[in-house]
């Protein structure tokens, strides 16, 4: 918790479409209220002016783990925060990014960089700066321990609000037929 009593939150965007972060921004005026309770210390949608990932109370991750870089980032976040939440279907179950898992990695890369209809002379990127893809894309909990799940593609603002307010009140969100959605 920060000096002013706010809960420190770090968010992360891995292999996802950013829709979950957009849905977070859909909290609209509730963001003002939330700002009184949390402090975002690290996030792709907030300019936190930090170079290294700071310690946090809660880490929220959108997207699944697709490459070595993302795996490293996720493991780093896990080591920096007390509670880790998977936000959205990609983080919880893999969703669209895991469609490639039915195929060999080589086949996917060939299809994407060489065989696409608009490509004349293609080349599979191979550079030290380009993160190496994992053999299979994985949901978060197959890589690190995950403490909570917020399903949805994307989860709507009300669902995110419910999960966050429950956690801030010290309760684990209850997912039932009424509020659990995979779509």
């Amino acid at each position: 918790m920060s000096a002013n009593g706010r809960v420190k939150v770090a968010t992360m965007w891995l292999s996802g479409c950013s829709g979950c972060h957009m849905s977070f921004l859909d909290l609209d005026e509730r963001l003002v209220e939330l700002n009184k309770l949390i402090e975002i210390v690290f996030s792709p949608v907030v300019d936190t002016k930090v170079k290294d990932m700071p310690l946090a109370d809660v880490g929220i991750v959108e997207g699944c783990v697709n490459n070595e870089d993302q795996k490293h980032e996720l493991e780093l976040l896990r080591s920096k925060c007390k509670i880790l939440l998977a936000l959205g279907d990609c983080a919880c179950s893999g969703n669209v990014p895991v469609l490639r898992n039915q195929f060999k990695l080589e086949e996917c890369l060939t299809r994407a960089y060489i065989e696409t209809e608009s490509t004349e002379v293609g080349e599979i990127p191979d550079h030290e700066l380009v993160p190496k893809l994992l053999n299979k894309a994985r949901p978060l909990h197959e890589i690190v321990k995950v403490d909570g799940y917020i399903q949805g593609c994307p989860p709507d603002a009300d669902t995110i609000w419910y999960a966050l307010t429950e956690l801030l009140a010290g309760r684990a969100p209850k997912w039932t037929e009424k509020n659990l959605r995979f779509d």
Partner: protein, 605 residues
Amino acid sequence: MSAPKQINLIIDGKKCTGTAGQTILDIASANGIAIPTLCYMKELSPWGGCRMCIVEIKGSPKIVPSCATPAADGSEYITNSERLFKLRQCTLELLFSERNHICPFCPSNKGDCELQSQAYKHSMDHVQFPYLYPALKMDVSGKYFGLDHNRCILCTRCVRTCDEIEGTHTLDISNRGQRNQIIVDLNTTFGESDTCTHCGACVANCPTGALFDKSQFYRGKLNTSDVIRTTCAECPVGCGLMVSTKEGRIINVFGDTDTLNNGHLCVKGRYQSWTEPRERITQPQIRKNGKLTPVTWAEAIAFVKQAQANSPKWQTGMLVSPRVTNETAKTVVKISNKFDRIGVRVVRNEAAICVQPDPAKDAMKKIDASDCIILLGARLGHDHGVLTARIRVAVRKHGAKLIVLQSSKSDLDAYADVAAPVVSLERAFWQKISGYLNEAQRPVLVYGAAAMSAIGVTVLERLINALETKKTGESISLIAMPRSTNSFGLAAAGVETVEEVMPWLETKPLHYLHLVASDEPDGGARWLEERHITDLLREVECVVVQSAYPSALTKLAMVVLPSTIWSERTGTTTNFEGQSLPVRAVLPPHGEAREDRAILEELFT
């Protein structure tokens, strides 16, 4: 036979009674206790494969699938403990991890998927087991539906439906263990299958998006659509339909479980009647300078009234399609004094069937219960898919004997004990079938139009005699099966039947001819199949065609009036059992189309 023994048991603390042999699930649902299921369907034999319906037995460490376990007298069952909830959740997680269930782009997403809703009910917020991501294929070769193995949970509902309801057993399970997969015939595709009738019952009963209707794809969700019950217009069986519509268009058609078809449909009612877009006549048209020109209804009506008034009554006639409702039939009878001749155009030899005074009540049930079914000149497979399915099931599941006497090849030949052309009158043949006739306890004789041919009638009489002389105490069930949808209703209303248009036209040359083709699938073009008839129609001064679809018939017309189709009209239709069944409009009329009855009323009353 003594009455089944009553048993008493306790389910979730509630005292319940049932009869010996009933399953725990049966008794629980009869007592208002809901147990989650996936592979269970009350229309099908129990499978016990999905393990969602597991229950605990008090005093026993075992858990049992309630759908496949007969309840024991005096036992106590628990259906909703914490342990069961966890086990069911675990089962669901295993199902999700086994294949590629990715909800957001599945056509059954958002409420049409039982797997998804069970996951919601069991708070499955993630899957604790590693996903397998198997590389599985899709079969989209079928015309109306596809199979995506990625979404299949191997509940076998499709396999059992195909076997027990359609009776073809096209589907089955191949391989073992984790490689289990639904298989079409001997590993072919829906498009190439010899046995698939494309009835789509497997799709209707699939709990996930594994089997999906192509035409419903992204048209809308079933669970938020409007559902209207009506009667299928494609044949005289009169199957109940449940039509789902959204924003003025049909999104899917399923069978009504409360009607004689028990929720089953054939390819005609389930798909053919609505999935293919067809050109419609949207406006009244009058031929001006040799070309059909759109006009207002007022102009068209004035023109037709005048044309009819200008024709001497003895030179006026009207032909009606046998697809129209009983209400239209009444109107036709009411206005018949305005015409010299009015007739309903039926197929060859059908007239004799329509005058049958007493349609076979409960014909469907009699077929279900029969031990010997004789088909004489009824094109069942081709024309009446649901009845054919019932016969297949009676033969395959209940051991009924089947004798098919028909000149053309039939889908049922493969299931028949004897299949022969109607001409078979030789001694040896009769000796062969008399064995079956003698043993029959509940024989059913279904005869169609071809049985009314000269030879057909002789065979029919001999069959009836052979069955009557047996004196089993039960009367034989004779079932007349016309081919046209409402020919029974029109004949009952008193409309004369016309099998051949030529002699009907030639009796006296016509000056005014009104053709109510209604929504005949070919627009009434079939009426022109007789030789020289087109030439004869050209000689008629004024031909008015009332039709939903443009056709060779409308090309001959002086005036074309747009009719509504099956999904846009209201009234009743009479099926082969003689029941008057409701027809309800599920969509507003297309363009300026009007119901046949309304058009005739406006013109001639």
